[in-house]
Symmetry: C2
Subunit: 182 residues, 2 copies
DNA sequence: GTCCGCATGTAAGGCGTTACATGATTAA
DNA sequence: TTAATCATGTAACGCCTTACATGCGGAC
């Protein structure tokens, strides 16, 4: 239930994009607005302050100018420190806590993981991810069985939706492991 | 991408619980801490201010005392106005926007829906839910096909995870419709 | 010459988070 | 009597949201 890491979801997403190649704030907004990348807001009130925080932390560096025209724009690139923080976040072991409270963070980590921490670590991640889900699903099923009779039908159905979502994630992870091993 | 309604997720969850029977803040914390009900924080810093906001809005009413002991406690019950707001929120039609940005809100609405808005409306909800998902999945698939070749393998897998999650939800909704019709 | 897309930002407000604080009751 | 549980709150902080503001450049 605790976010043990200093990286918010948005910071992670931005760091991940910028780590691949330098981008302007506007570029990032376009990525969020036009691709189904996470569910991040592309509003300037989110992006520009986030970039400023990352720059203040020393994790990205903004370079003014860049373009041939005189149009004002700032291109950001990741710094060595930023890359270290990014890698450390991606390399964190999966905890059962993550599975319950930070599933979206886990998926975001996965999306950026492979080129940064290597294939072996990615496979390990998927393996741990799947086992923690199995464990959590077992707990949810136990709970559901214990309250099945007293739960209204829609409460039960809502719970089943959650459980099936987790089961799907575990299956997906195991398929992903197979594909990545090839 | 806009939350068109005045009810935050936490407010909705609290209103839903209290609408079933009067509860204290501590009762609500226990529900959040001990059942897999949503993924709400059971921290006092979330619950008590939320109850205060609901009371200020006139949607719940707190009654002091209650218990036989002299222990200080406040029991909250929903007001007529609160019930109206709650019902109106549950009765909102499903939009494609909801499916993309507020899936968790939709599931929460569903969990409380049946006794409040009736079986017919619940079935309608599930039907619209499933169709909007179908539509959204079609869009995601088109996007995935258009970038499949240039996407790194983990990016592709992360997207597939999202798509499969949506497909699971649509299947679940159709199964739920069948079960509720019986 | 005006509208649209590019491009960057600020201000106010809402709400959740962590951490801290307090005090009563019950079980060992 | 001491620890755990019951029970309610506040304060500081972070970060996202909406809305507003500003100015350049190209297309028609």
């Amino acid at each position: 239930m605790k976010q043990e890491n200093e990286l918010s979801m948005l910071s992670l997403a931005i760091l991940g994009l910028i780590s691949q190649r330098p981008l302007t704030g506007y570029d990032i907004r376009k990525v969020f607005a036009t691709t189904p990348m996470g569910h991040f807001s592309s509003s300037p009130g989110a992006i520009y302050p986030a970039l400023k925080r990352l720059e203040d932390a020393g994790w990205v560096r903004g370079i003014a100018g860049e373009g041939k025209t005189h149009r004002r724009r700032r291109t950001y690139e990741i710094t060595a420190r930023g890359l270290r923080v990014f890698k450390r976040h991606l390399a964190q072991p999966v905890t059962s806590d993550d599975v319950v409270w930070h599933m979206d963070d886990l998926m975001l980590r996965f999306a950026f993981m492979d080129p940064v921490v290597g294939r072996e670590a990615t496979l390990q991640f998927l393996h741990d991810f799947a086992s923690h889900i199995d464990e959590h699903v077992a707990g949810l099923r136990r709970y559901l069985d214990s309250v099945r009779d007293i739960l209204p039908p829609c409460g039960r159905l809502a719970m089943e939706n959650g459980i099936q979502g987790y089961e799907m994630d575990a299956q997906w992870a195991r398929r992903a492991m197979e594909e990545l091993r090839k």
